[in-house]
Amino acid sequence: MTNQFKFLYKTCIVLLAVLATMAMGAVILLAIGAPVLKTYAVIVFDPLKNIGLISEVLIRTIPLTIIALGIAVAYRSGIINIGAEGQMAMGILATTAVALALPDLPKPLLLPLVLIAGIAGGALWGAIPGLLKAKLQVSELLSTVMLNYIAEQFYTFCLRKPFLDPAEMTTGSGTPQSMRLTKNIWLTRFVSGTRLHTGIFIAIGFAIVIYLLLWKTPFGYKMRAAGSCERAARYGGINVAKYLVIAMVLSGGFAGLAGAVEICGVHHRAIQGITGGYGFSAIVVALFGGLHPAGIIPAAFFFGLLLVGGNMTQNAVGVPANMVQVLQGVIILVIVATQMILSNTYLMERIWRKTHKEASS
């Protein structure tokens, strides 16, 4: 079997995967009578039309990258983190709390402080499922999902009561949101006319850190060993339970950081719906990016594209924004199926033999 054949085979599989994704999305689009190819074009190309839109894509790339890095760390350590939404929310609450408590601290002090608070909030929320799995063997798939719902409720409560904007109370509109947070935590917007902020450098910085951590240090080696083959790792003297918890703490911390960056860079206050499904989208980003920082950054950009494009489809072709969630789900399914097909060498050999036989006979 030649290398040329292997390359051709794998490329074909990937192409089929892309087609399958578009076809499955098309099923829903056709059901609502939307023009399939035009919709896809709007989603993928419209957000690139001008600087303003591109900056919006980049703004979404930032939290997606950060959270996906955390999810990749957890996944490679053997634990699937579905709880990024909740961890992000908790990070936001921590950030807001610190910002509300110490509004007069100078920026060089306050900004790092609130970012750390965000990390801590998310890390704490991530530690819970980590400990539950390490000590009590509770499946993280269920515990993280439950914690998402719990965090969501707690977040709403905080916005409605302790953190409620005093201005809202006086006008009586009661929109659950905090008051505008001090400028001392705002991340600079460095492209005039857009909302693009310096958080992007934080994202890139952490991508490099994660790469070094996982692939260049003994610590990362042990985490990956624990995630690849838990038994052999244990037999090798690696404290799998410890690394599991650390992985979840890191993962949660990243989600919390993303939340903090969102507050400091984009919204400048805590509002409803601020997590915007990033926690789930980041899972797809992590998978799509091959669980590696080099892949996650472009993947995050692509999904930022989808999110912005998805918002535009309602006006452009009458397709509700929920369609993006459909595509994300399809992409996950296609990725996991394709990974299995690609790793099935038996199938590849059978096809080689079939085509080889036809050619020679």
Binding site: M24, I28, A31, I32, G33, I80, I82, L132, L136, Q137, V138, S139, L141, L142, S143, V145, M146, L147, Y149, I150, Q153, F154, T156, F157, R160, K161, F280, I283, V284, L287, G318, V319, P320, N322, M323, V324, Q325, V326, L327, Q328, G329, V330, I331, I332, L333, V336, A337, Q339, M340, I341, Y346
Partner: protein, 314 residues
């Protein structure tokens, strides 16, 4: 007294969605597959359940037959989604946890997209009427709680002994249990592991679809993005909690549904307690239960979550 009757009656009627979904999931898991996409299937079921009567009556009164057709449509779609999931995790042998999340996103997104296009807004439907059991519903206290529910409630609770019988007394049930515990043994004795798993996922999917339709047709009498709000996941947790047995799962469903009614009570009786903490209760309960019921890890179908590949030589 009145409040107790209301609470218990409400607990029973709002346990149906959980019960149907978990019995379906129990069958999946007994065959060795866990389907986290249950939530997505329920969403689609919820949408289809109310779509049919809405399409006919636009929120006004419709003949019961259309409610029935809505339920049927939900079940059919649920079975279809179950089969689709089977393709991914049985034929392609993809990891079940993450694939389930993919299915969940697909189902929730599709339901939302289709709803906004075909119905939109906060349209409601009259839903299924109550069907009090003649004579029995007149029993004071018990009659109101147990026998004044709608037809689906009775059906759901009948499903408990029925599913027990199917699983433990029929050949198909035997095959399902063998496939979930020792698929290699089942395979070597001529049982088609793939066929059994596809069938279980179809049945589980149909029940999840029905559960979703119950939510929109009978409970909320409308559809919204948050109509399922985690019940699909709770249903999966219930299967562990109920040790893969129908009766225990039923008690679990009742318990969680009771926790959920807590929130309604606060609202109806205007008690001064932060609403959000009441809503949290069922989810916290799930975690508490999972944390303290270590037994269940050992009792599950041994091959749960492991894809079967005959060609893998040990």
């Amino acid at each position: 007294m009145n409040i107790i009757v209301t609470v218990l009656s409400l607990a029973i009627s709002s346990s149906v969605a959980l019960l149907l979904a978990s019995i379906g999931e129990m069958i999946n898991q007994r065959a060795g597959i866990f389907n986290l996409g249950c939530e997505g299937i329920m969403s689609m079921g919820a949408f289809l359940g109310m779509l049919v009567p809405y399409a006919v009556g636009h929120g006004g009164d419709t003949p019961e037959i259309f409610n029935f057709l809505g339920l049927l449509a939900a079940m059919a779609m649920g079975a279809l989604l179950g089969l689709f999931f089977a393709l991914i995790v049985v034929t392609f042998r993809a990891p079940q946890g993450i694939a389930g999340i993919g299915l969940q996103m697909f189902g929730v997104g599709a339901a939302g997209t289709l709803f906004r296009h075909f119905v939109g807004g906060t349209q409601s439907v009259p839903g299924i009427t109550t069907a009090p059991v003649p004579l029995l519903s007149r029993i004071p206290f018990a009659g109101q709680i147990f026998f004044s529910q709608n037809a689906l409630v009775y059906l759901a609770f009948l499903l408990v002994p029925l599913s027990w019988y199917i699983l433990f007394k029929t050949p198909w049930g035997l095959e399902v249990r063998a496939v979930g515990t020792h698929p290699r043994a089942a395979d070597s004795i001529g049982i088609n592991v793939t066929r059994i798993r596809y069938q279980s996922l179809a049945v589980g999917g149909a029940l999840a679809g029905l559960a979703g339709a119950y939510l929109s047709l009978c409970q909320a009498k409308m559809f919204s993005d948050s109509i399922v709000s985690g019940r699909g996941f709770i249903a999966v947790a219930l299967v562990y909690f109920g040790h893969w047995q129908p009766v225990k799962i039923m008690w679990g469903a009742l318990l969680f549904s009771l926790a959920q009614t807590f929130q309604t009570i606060i609202q109806s009786y205007g008690i001064n307690f932060p609403y959000e903490f009441a809503v949290m209760l069922p989810y916290v309960l799930v975690i508490v239960v999972l944390a303290f019921d270590r037994e269940s890890q050992r009792l599950g179908p041994t091959a749960l979550g492991v894809p079967f590949d005959r060609e893998i030589r040990t």
